[in-house]
């Protein structure tokens, strides 16, 4: 073992290296040098051999030379005085007739990280920049960057920088790219290398000569360039076009990023580029290397933020392989949930169902939660699957299913009855804390629909003394109180016991405070308590507004093809915070009403009130206002439903904007629309819970009855037209 008795080992090596017999035998000598490097890699400090290794560098054997140079670069900073001894040999090698030896010596000399090196390397570097062998020029160009990093605070040598800029025209492609890299390093404080029009076009024209690594790096450098006008922009894009389909995934994706960046003002071009590069992106997801697969999946998720439908037809690519590691499976499930539509829902659910019984408990639970998310749209099918899973009587599955039920009931109130029925008939209850909490919430919230609820709750109240989790105790308290309000006769006794225990004997402060709060509430009277505890909640179905929003490409393009999408949440949060600060303008509430009222050319109103679309309202602002405002008018209209985009395109010409709608054929189906007129903002919700009838709820800020009348008549005529259109079809 090298770690024990390491001093002995070093001494022995030293003895061997200085033995004239060994030195005479080239092969033995080399094998000892190899041994030194091996120990060095393993972490043993062999710097004491520096002197002997310097001697070994004077050889014609290139392999030995390389090994010794590797040694010297590692320890030069520890032994600067001894390293100076090696410099002579290196400088002599820099003038060797063999370009390989010249390059090797120059590269390693520049790699010595010790102060005072600059004066020795400056002259060979300058000579190297003009060397006729491209190999030496490549080394010399990066040598400039190394020299600068040795003395970061010195003034930048203007002539050297100019020479590097001139070398951008070098015939050797690697020299060109190395120049960019070196300039970027040297000029870091001044904002990096300047990409002006001639340089940008020069690089674009050379792009096809470069190897793939250089290509992706140059494409990243080109992000800095802004074309002057559209003609130039489209010239550049057509030059880049073939690289979008490159067989090297990293080139294709770097090109895509550049495309999205350059075409920021042309969403149609961006969409085309995304379509074009969906093939290379999908190819990374099927790559043999699982790390590459993971990176591809993470980036597909980014793309789906603005183009959710792009990968719809390829959903089978995201089915999990049996042997894939779970971090890839998690990503694939997230993507699958987002890709579900009417055609594939049956197959996706079938596939998801098979993940629910995976050996890994985490994976199984994630799959169950994923089914729950699909259930917000396709509740019936998912409820069947989830109910079936309960029959397996596996603790972790039961717990996950109950938790999913809780979320499902919250988001889709229409499946409450089915869930309650299932919970009622369930025999096996969750054992872990999260699962118990979910069950208690369901019991409390829907005590009137679960007949056995009080008996189930009683078990938990009786077992309270042995319960450790404070969160669970709070949930028991809340559930008991809610149940008391709904079924007082059966619950009164146990609620009394519970409150008594929690106030008198409980040691956890939070639980005790909660119990006291409920106690005092009850003292104020039942009606007061009911108002507080079961008062109106925020409307969860409004989440249609915030979910499934197509974000603009600019939201994520800044982190595309960086480590951002791959790494943990903190990096992502950081980035979204950054991009959010760039787009604060559309969330400002005040801006909503400062419309620039254009005179409507097509006057569609009756009472002389005209509608206009005005500035866009963000979903967040809409949601906020919707909750604040009172309902102004409610009306039912005959409407048999139509595709969402048909509705959207029908409303557009009459200046009514569609903000969000539920997926097609979901029941209840909702859509949120708005419009402006006479200085007011009209918000409306279209709710269809009967296949034939549509309920329109209207809110307005500030109130103006005429506008509302106009709005309704316009909306009615549009819906009528759509109805008759469907009849004729």
């Amino acid at each position: 073992m090298p770690y024990f008795g390491s001093e002995e080992t070093v001494k022995e090596l030293k003895r061997a290296l200085s033995n004239p017999n060994v030195q005479a035998d080239r092969l033995r000598y080399k094998s000892y040098i190899t041994k030194v490097i091996r120990y060095m890699t393993q972490g043993l400090d062999v710097s004491a051999l520096f002197m002997d290794m310097v001697k070994a560098s004077a050889t014609v054997d290139i392999v030995q030379k390389k090994l010794v140079y590797l040694y010297m670069c590692t320890y030069a900073s520890d032994k600067p005085d001894l390293a100076l001894l090696a410099i002579n040999t290196l400088r002599k090698d820099c003038a060797d007739p063999n370009p390989m030896v010249r390059g090797l010596a120059l590269r390693n000399m520049c790699n010595f990280r010790m102060p005072g090196m600059t004066e020795y390397i400056e002259q060979p570097i300058v000579a190297g920049l003009r060397d006729k062998a491209s190999y030496v020029r490549r080394v010399a160009v990066l040598g400039c960057a190394k020299m600068h990093s040795l003395q970061p605070r010195t003034e930048i040598d203007g002539s050297l920088v100019n020479e590097l800029y001139a070398l951008l025209r070098d015939p050797d492609p690697v020299v060109v790219v190395n120049c960019l890299r070196a300039l970027e390093d040297i000029l870091k404080d001044e904002g990096g290398v300047v990409i002006n029009k001639p340089i940008a076009h020069h690089l674009l024209n050379r792009l096809k000569d470069l190897d793939c690594w250089a290509q992706s790096e140059v494409l990243t450098f080109l992000l800095r360039y802004r074309p002057r006008n559209d003609d130039e922009l489209f010239d550049i894009l057509s030059l880049l076009d073939p690289f979008l389909q490159s067989s090297q995934s990293h080139v294709a994706i770097s090109t895509l990023r550049l495309f999205l960046h350059l075409a920021a003002a042309h969403p149609a071009v961006q969409a085309d580029a995304l379509l074009c590069s969906s093939a290379p992106l999908l190819a990374t997801c099927g790559a043999a290397s699982r790390e590459l697969r993971f990176a591809g999946l993470c980036h597909i998720q980014q793309v789906m933020r603005s183009q959710p439908a792009l990968f719809n037809t390829h959903y089978k690519r995201f089915f999990c392989g049996y042997s894939e590691p779970s971090y890839i499976k998690f990503r694939k499930m997230e993507i699958l949930v987002a890709l579900v539509n009417d055609e594939n829902v049956a197959l996706v659910l079938e596939e998801m169902k098979s993940y629910c019984t995976d050996v890994s408990a985490e994976l199984a639970q994630a799959a169950i939660a994923a089914i729950g998310r699909i259930g917000r749209t396709y509740s019936e099918k998912c409820l069947d699957i989830l109910t079936g899973l309960l029959a397996l009587k596996q603790d972790h599955i039961t717990s996950a299913v109950i938790q999913t039920f809780r979320d499902l009931v919250w988001f889709c109130p229409q499946c409450t009855a089915a869930v309650c029925l299932t919970v009622e008939s369930c025999v096996d209850y969750p054992q872990d804390s999260e699962g118990k909490q979910a069950l208690l919430w369901l019991l409390g919230e829907h005590a009137d629909q679960i007949s056995s609820a009080p008996y189930l709750l009683e078990v938990y109240i009786d077992g309270l003394k042995t319960e450790l989790s404070a969160a669970l105790k709070m949930e028991i308290l809340t559930a008991a109180l809610k149940m008391f309000l709904r079924r007082p006769a059966e619950t009164q006794d146990m609620l009394g016991r519970l409150l008594h225990y929690c106030i008198e004997e409980e040691s956890d402060m939070c639980v005790r405070d909660r119990a006291l709060l409920y106690y005092r509430l009850l003292q104020r009277g039942i009606e007061e308590t009911r108002k507080v505890v079961t008062g109106p909640k925020s409307d969860p179905s409004l989440s249609v507004l915030t979910s499934a929003q197509e974000e603009p490409v600019s939201q994520w393009v800044s982190i595309f093809n960086t480590l951002g999408p791959l790494s943990a949440a903190d990096l992502q949060l950081h980035n979204t915070a950054l991009s959010a600060s760039e787009h604060t303008d559309d969330t400002a509430d005040t801006e909503l009403l400062t419309e620039h009222v254009p005179v409507s050319m097509r006057d569609v109103s009756e009472a002389g009130v005209s509608l206009c679309a005005g500035a866009a309202v963000s979903p967040e602002a809409f949601e906020q206002m919707w909750q604040q405002l009172e309902v102004l008018q409610r009306q039912t209209v005959c409407f048999s439903g139509c595709a969402a985009d048909t509705l959207q395109s029908a409303l557009q010409p009459v200046h009514i904007q569609t903000l969000a709608f539920s997926p097609a054929r979901a029941l209840p189906w909702r859509a949120y629309i708005y419009s402006r007129g006479s200085g007011t903002l009209v918000l409306a919700e279209l709710l269809q819970d009967d296949p034939e009838m549509l309920t329109v709820t209207i809110k307005q800020q500030p109130e103006h009855q005429q506008t509302v009348t106009a709005f309704i008549s316009v909306l009615q005529s549009v819906l009528q037209t759509l109805n008759t259109g469907q009849m004729s079809v």
Partner: protein, 382 residues
């Protein structure tokens, strides 16, 4: 740009370490190893961050290939570079394992020195690298029973030796300069990965073929090579011609060095392969299999007593009778608490073992002629 590159064994031993920019301390190897072993199963390990140093790693050949960086580079570039580094190591050392990396560390240092300078990738092409690489590979040839089984009676060629993978797979591409011109050989392999999901009722639920044509070239210089594919090859779903049972793929992609000017009319790929292994064509086919899947498995599982499970497997090989499947292995997941297993196999050259670590049992069949049917009975004790 890359700050450091290091290769660790699965136990955390430092095999290769090279610092390119002197930005990060050598300590970061240990930091990385601690982080990667502390990860729970569901956390993605590919990118990890410690302070301002990002670690990106791939696992190949049971080793960690790690790059660390202080910038925010393209993950695709770094991952592909690490994969390429592993592939080159395999080309030059013959095989990819802890042992071969240990034995050839000088060669790998030499490779790294030419491939990356100051953290920037310079070149990864074998054609350029071969001019600079001087160290000779030390190849490790483990003793293997497989070699013995190749020898037929009185030196007669067995069928297996005709089709068994030659040693070429684990031979370094640079033959030693002494025995000039080892063999001038070039190997063309077609490798297909078939993933098929079959429902419990025997219906094909999902199928997906990922295939590639791979070349391993030992020729120091190779003139243009022409590979003719089946002329009836169709690409894409739309253009099926006539009634022909044409060969069809959904999508295909080619190596950038492949010239395709005769591909459209004659389905000929022209390529000048450089030394080493490269994939010249990748293709894939989803949903519709052109023929029946090569194997059919009919399982039946019986729970005997409280602690015994009987697994009866019947496996049919649907290949044409002339062909033989070699080295078939079947993995069957078993319950967590499986302790031991006894088996009844239909011939002595088959093996089966229980792998409690993977919660699976592995049944291996060295030779499986087309049209044959094998059965096995496993008795797993819980």
């Amino acid at each position: 740009m890359i700050s450091q590159i290091f290769i660790l064994s699965s136990k955390g031993d430092h095999l290769i370490y090279k610092d390119f920019r002197g930005e990060a301390s050598k300590d970061s190897i240990n930091v990385f190893y601690e982080m990667v072993t502390a990860l729970s199963g569901d956390q993605p390990p590919v990118v990890m961050t410690h302070k301002d140093l990002h670690f990106i790693h791939v696992r190949q050949g049971g080793l960690y290939w790690v790059a660390s960086t202080k910038t925010n580079p393209s993950p695709f570039t770094i991952i592909e570079f690490l994969n390429r580094l592993a592939a080159l190591t395999k080309d030059y050392c013959g095989s990819l394992s802890e042992k071969s990396v240990r034995m050839n560390f000088a060669l790998i240092y030499e490779l790294l020195d030419e491939m990356v300078d100051f953290g920037y990738v310079q070149t990864t092409s074998t054609d350029i690298l071969k001019n600079f690489i001087q160290t000779e590979a030390v190849s490790s040839k483990p003793f293997s029973l497989f070699d013995l089984s190749n020898v037929g009676l009185f030196g007669a060629e067995t069928q297996q030796s005709k089709v068994a993978p030659s040693v070429a797979a684990s031979r370094p591409i640079m033959s030693s300069r002494g025995e000039q011109g080892g063999k001038n050989e070039i190997f063309v392999d077609v490798i297909e990965r078939l993933s098929v999901v079959i429902g419990s009722n025997g219906v094909l639920m999902k199928s997906d073929i990922q295939g590639e044509i791979r070349i391993k070239c030992f020729l120091p210089t190779c003139s243009e090579m022409r590979i003719g594919l089946n002329e009836e090859l169709n690409i894409g779903k739309s253009q099926l011609k006539g009634y022909s049972s044409a060969v069809r793929v959904d999508e295909c992609r080619f190596h950038q060095a492949v010239k395709l000017d005769e591909f459209d009319t004659f389905r000929i790929l022209k390529v000048c392969p450089s030394q080493g292994e490269q994939t010249i064509m990748q293709y894939q086919l989803c949903d519709e299999l052109p023929c029946a899947p090569p194997f059919q498995l009919f399982p039946s599982v019986e729970k005997d007593y409280v602690n015994r499970v009987l697994i009866f497997l019947k496996l049919r090989c649907d290949l044409p009778p002339k062909s033989t499947a070699l080295n078939v292995s079947i993995t069957v997941p078993v319950p967590k608490g499986s302790v031991s297993m006894s088996q009844e196999l239909s011939s002595p050259d088959q093996t089966a073992e229980l792998q409690p670590k993977n919660k699976a049992l592995l049944w291996e069949i060295p030779r499986f002629p087309g049209g044959a049917q094998l059965s096995a009975l496993f008795n797993v004790m819980l």
